[in-house]
């Protein structure tokens, strides 16, 4: 196999310009997309091939240290593909389209020796597959990073603090409450209390599907923190089932003002801040 290794390396090295132009035409046929320009694609192919030819001189095992530059370059390419929204298949095609030009050269070189040709073909297949596999893995990793970041952004977006009235703010909570979310919610709510100078904060839990002891504990913590800052807190939007659950779980909501609806909470908040809404008199 030592012999065949050098052969593939030789092919890449000696025939680089020709191989590159073949690969480029393969790429043009396989990847025609407005998301990436032909010139960019060709630059990437040229740079990668340059790195490949250097690394291939040390053998075709891409997990060795000699292949470090190639792996790094593939990481960069895969990441940019993932960010541009390519699929894993489209990303892998970039590497797999190198197969045909390589095979062509192997066949030309070893046309007279069938046994050697089979060996060499197998070596090239393994090599290109390994490269492709690595690319897909890097692509997947970048995608996962994107997903994780989006999750974080969703966390921020799902906790809007609304100014309802002069000195009254409301936080409509949507979705399940866990420790991480409660922390974000608490921070943004407390910060808004300071910014606006709100005297009353209403937490509406209409959109919270279930309340268990942990969620209740988070709520109580938030209420306590609000009180420490010198504002009052009202919890509203408690559905009948949730009221039942809270009592069955033995959660103590003494000292916390609770209201069935946001409207009730607003009415109380207005009363506490000495404000009133009256119907306009029709003349």
């Amino acid at each position: 196999m030592a012999d065949s290794r050098t052969k593939t390396a030789d092919i890449i090295k000696s025939d680089m310009a020709d191989l590159l132009s073949d690969w480029k035409s393969e790429l043009r046929a396989a990847v025609s997309d407005s998301r990436i320009s032909g010139a960019e694609l060709e630059t990437q192919a040229a740079e990668l091939l340059g790195l490949l030819s250097t690394a291939a001189a040390h053998g075709l095992d891409i997990s060795t240290a000699d292949w470090q530059p190639v792996r790094e370059y593939l990481d960069v390419v895969s990441r940019s593909r993932a960010i541009k929204g390519f699929s894993s298949q489209e990303t892998a095609t970039f590497i797999f389209s190198l197969k045909k030009p390589l095979f062509k050269r192997v066949r030309r070189l070893l046309a007279s020796e069938p046994a050697a040709l089979a060996d060499e073909t197998w070596a090239v297949t393994e090599f290109v597959d390994a490269l492709g596999m690595y690319t897909v893995k890097a692509f997947q990793k970048s995608r996962e990073e994107v997903i994780a970041r989006q999750q974080e952004e969703m966390l921020e977006l799902s906790t809007p603090v609304i100014k309802l009235w002069d000195g009254i703010i409301a936080l409509p909570m949507i979705g399940t409450l866990d420790s991480a979310r409660t922390q974000v919610v608490m921070e943004s709510l407390l910060q808004r209390i300071v910014d606006i100078g709100a005297e009353i904060a209403i937490i509406d839990i209409t959109g919270v599907p279930t309340v268990d002891t942990l969620v209740a504990q988070h709520l109580l913590k938030t209420v306590t923190a609000i009180r420490l800052m010198g504002a009052d807190c009202i919890i509203s939007g408690i559905r009948p089932q949730i009221a039942q659950t809270i009592v069955h779980l033995g959660i103590d909501l003494q000292g916390v003002i609770t209201k069935a609806t946001l409207a009730d909470a607003l009415a109380l908040a207005l009363q506490r801040t000495g404000q009133a809404i009256t119907k306009a008199k029709v003349a």
């Binding site: 922390q183 608490m186 009180r227 800052m229």
Partner: protein, 128 residues
């Protein structure tokens, strides 16, 4: 020695914590404040902690203690301007400062103190 100034405004005492609170400073403040209440006969104490951005359990308890001591000396206490980070820290430490009155800022704290003092002096003749 470093001290936290205690200002007198009529029958109220105003404490503004502008420096990083440490244990020794808190102890000194406790001594100073209680003796000032005794000396001036103040009926209300306002503690402004809006510049305080670091607390530990000791400082948290100190705030609760000072408030309780003032109450025993017949002075109402309001703690004002607690920062969000401080509030979260205290809650996470399990200190809910039950019995400590709070307000958003000095202005609201003053209003609150005055109304409470008015209510207290209003109540007093009724009980006699």
């Amino acid at each position: 020695m470093e001290r936290i100034p205690i200002l007198r405004m009529g029958n109220l005492l105003l404490v503004t914590i502008q420096v990083d609170m440490h244990d020794q400073l808190a102890r000194v403040l406790q001594d100073d404040l209680t003796s000032q209440i005794e000396k001036t006969g103040a009926k209300g104490v306002l503690i402004d902690i809006s510049a305080l951005d670091l607390v530990d359990s000791f400082i948290g308890r100190m705030i609760a203690n000072i408030s309780a001591m003032s109450r025993i000396l017949d002075a109402q206490t309001v703690v004002v301007g607690m920062r969000p980070a401080v509030a979260i820290t205290l809650v996470e430490l399990g200190l809910d400062l039950a019995g400590v009155d709070t307000a958003l800022d000095v202005e609201r704290g003053m209003k609150r103190l005055r109304s409470r003092l008015a209510a207290a002096s209003h109540d007093a003749p009724d009980t006699n």
